[in-house]
């Protein structure tokens, strides 16, 4: 058994006696950078975007894990790799105790029903020519599930009721353009849960919606979670993660730099990147105007990852060792299940 596995057990990433719904270990994903015609002719070496570089996490049933970070940190690539929508270079993805990394398209198909994706933009993700009924029924037809026509109707009605589009009859024959943004996102969620999945991957599920309807969608996800679904939510919004996630994993340049129970990460951050990120989140109450710790510049691109700790060029507390040592995610002494990747913690 490797040291990494020991740590995972130590910080409680594994459920006692049972396997988590989804476990990702040492996931690596990179994309080649286009060299262009001149580059190809000159035989310039291939360069790669190191989008995800050794990410490990687990999602339990009935748990919402928020993967937070700035654009380009690899959070969306991670989500896509988890669903096997992009091919990882290495690493292991376990779904319900089964290693799905080596599975090919055909073998994955029955599993796809059990892991569903919710997209950011409900204006793009719904086919404008499909009625609500047809949009929610379509996944059943694709997966040849749901039994007879009447059974499928019942499934569609149930799914609409679960996403609180009540009464379902009022919505069945409407088209996306007749719905508000929040209602569209509810239809998209209905089309995901109609298959009875175990895992939902929600990529920025509310960032395109108005503030007044966001809370409703997030509360809906929360109720689905209470009903036993595991949810991996990708978000750039720490306030949303703080209020709705059970656990938060903070990503920076392809790595998880801090992970733990949501309230512990938000109230007792350990990694200097998490601390800085939290310090700049605007607050509702003007009296709580924060003492901002603004990092200069922006994250370097993932083609040239800095040596040692990848955060060291922007880190306010970096020391000489940080240029050499690439820190592992280790228990941070901030409570059970709270880990950070920093040699100064």
């Amino acid at each position: 058994m490797t040291g990494r596995r020991d740590f995972r057990q130590e910080v409680g990433l594994r459920e006692d006696g049972a396997h988590p719904l989804m476990a990702v270990e040492d996931l690596v994903v990179c994309y080649p950078v286009a060299r262009g015609l001149a580059g190809t002719l000159a035989r310039r070496p291939h360069r790669f975007v190191h989008a995800v570089e050794g990410v490990s996490f687990a999602v339990k049933r009935g748990e919402l894990l928020a993967l937070v970070g700035e654009s380009g940190c690899g959070k969306t690539t991670t989500a896509q790799a988890v669903l096997r929508l992009v091919e990882p270079v290495s690493g292991r993805i376990e779904f319900d105790g089964r290693d799905i990394t080596p599975l090919h398209t055909r073998a994955l198909r029955p599993l796809r029903r059990r892991m569903q994706l919710i997209y950011q933009d409900p204006y793009e993700s719904l086919d404008p020519r499909l009625s609500v009924r047809a949009a929610v029924e379509e996944p059943l037809l694709i997966h040849r599930l749901g039994g007879s026509k009447d059974d499928r109707r019942e499934h569609v009605r149930e799914a609409l009721a679960r996403v609180e589009l009540n009464p379902p009859e009022l919505f069945l024959d409407r088209y996306p353009h007749e719905l508000s943004g929040g209602q569209r996102q509810r239809v998209a969620i209905a089309a995901s849960i109609v298959l009875g999945p175990d895992l939902l991957v929600a990529d920025e599920p509310v960032s395109m919606l108005d503030v007044s309807v966001r809370a409703g969608i997030l509360s809906l996800l929360d109720r689905l979670r209470e009903g036993g679904l595991g949810i991996l939510m990708i978000t750039h919004d720490l306030s949303t993660a703080a209020r709705f996630a059970d656990r938060i994993a903070v990503m920076y340049l392809g790595r998880i730099v801090e992970e733990g129970p949501a309230q512990s990460v938000v109230r007792n951050p350990q990694h200097p990147y998490t601390k800085a990120l939290l310090s700049v989140v605007p607050r509702r109450d003007p009296r709580e105007r924060s003492k901002r710790e603004i990092l200069s510049g922006e994250a370097p691109d993932a083609v040239r990852i800095p040596s040692g700790c990848r955060f060291h060029p922007r880190c306010p507390i970096a020391i000489a060792d940080c240029k050499q040592i690439d820190p592992a995610l280790e228990p941070a002494g901030a409570g059970a299940g709270h880990a950070a990747a920093c040699i100064r913690v």
Partner: protein, 322 residues
């Protein structure tokens, strides 16, 4: 006399299918030198139309009425002719997608030089030197002037757009969702920049955004818009701690906060259509405090104590909308 005073601004759009959409309904606010005012609201509330209207930037399908007084002079009265001398020179605007505001085939520096020359602020070598200073003032090294917009990151492009807006030393900077597409750390950098531009140069800021916490962070006062009108206006601290319009209270309650207690609650329902006359309070169908009078009678924006105003019948009855 205020630096900028907008009085009963109305905007109607002619619809292709006939009829009109009353997008902005009697909006008024004032801005003093160095003051930061947030114009907040959700999509479709008319906040962007308001600023485009007061700058005379709306398409021909729009009709605009009302007064826009700059140092006491109505710049809207003579249409384009009276607005043009002030646009960029006194009132400058920064848009949300900085990539769209910058020309992709020209260097960033040459675009700022163009603004300087067009408005006869400086020419030739002097304009180049001034461009360097402007870029420097927004935190971009002057030697980057020769770069193209695509060579800049999102945050740098937004800084460049701000530098361009500052070219003619305006007294009012209008920023429409200036940080919306940006990451939180870059957003913080831009907010800090806007903050220092206001404190150091006395620039007045009109910040248009859907993001209440950004307003709470940066602005002194805010005007909350709903269905084309301002429903509440006042110091940001008072809006959060003692809202006098239910929409303000519910909007804050719907906004997640890093350390806030409880779970944010959404506001049921949707805003009314603005292509037909509104009867009663535009918010009454979604309001948790609506009563009979709200259905029939439209509340007017009334002055309340504490330098604020709100359009809600409840203020006639109780001292405070809790």
């Amino acid at each position: 006399m205020s630096l900028l005073s907008v009085e009963s601004l109305n905007v109607w759009f002619d619809l292709d299918i006939g009829g009109e959409l009353h997008a902005v309904q009697g909006v008024g606010f004032e801005l003093e030198p160095g003051e930061r005012l947030g114009l907040v609201g959700e999509s479709g509330c008319g906040k962007t139309t308001t600023v485009l209207g007061l700058l005379g930037l709306l398409p021909s399908s729009a009709s605009v009425a009302g007064r826009v007084l700059l140092n006491g002079v109505d710049i809207l009265a003579g249409g384009e002719e009276t607005i043009r001398p002030h646009r960029w020179v006194d009132l400058a605007i920064v848009f949300q997608g900085a990539m769209n505001a910058l020309n992709p085939v020209k260097t960033v520096g040459s675009q700022i030089v163009e603004v300087l020359e067009l408005h006869e602020q400086a020419r030739g070598r002097e304009a180049k030197a001034r461009t360097g200073e402007l870029l420097d003032s927004v935190g971009i090294p002057a030697d980057r002037a020769e770069r193209f917009p695509h060579e800049f990151s999102g945050g740098m492009r937004q800084r460049a757009a701000i530098a361009m807006a500052l070219a003619c030393n305006p007294s009012v900077l209008i920023a429409d969702e200036p940080t919306t597409a940006l990451d939180v750390m870059v957003q913080a950098q831009i907010l800090e920049l806007l903050d220092s531009l206001c404190s150091d140069f006395g620039l007045a800021l009109l910040l248009v955004t859907h993001d209440l916490p950004v307003v709470a962070e940066l602005c002194d006062r805010a005007a909350v818009m709903y269905a084309g009108e301002i429903v509440e206006q006042g110091p940001v601290d008072a809006l959060y701690h003692e809202p006098r319009h239910p929409y303000t209270r519910l909007l804050f309650a719907a906004t997640p906060d890093l350390y806030g207690e409880g779970v944010p609650a959404s506001i049921p329902g949707a805003p009314p259509r603005l292509d037909r006359p509104l009867v009663g309070c535009p918010f009454h169908t979604r309001c948790d405090r609506a009563f009979a009078r709200c259905v029939d009678e439209r509340p007017l924006l009334k002055e309340l104590d504490g330098d604020r105003s709100a359009a809600c019948h409840l203020n006639d009855i109780v001292a405070e909308v809790v």
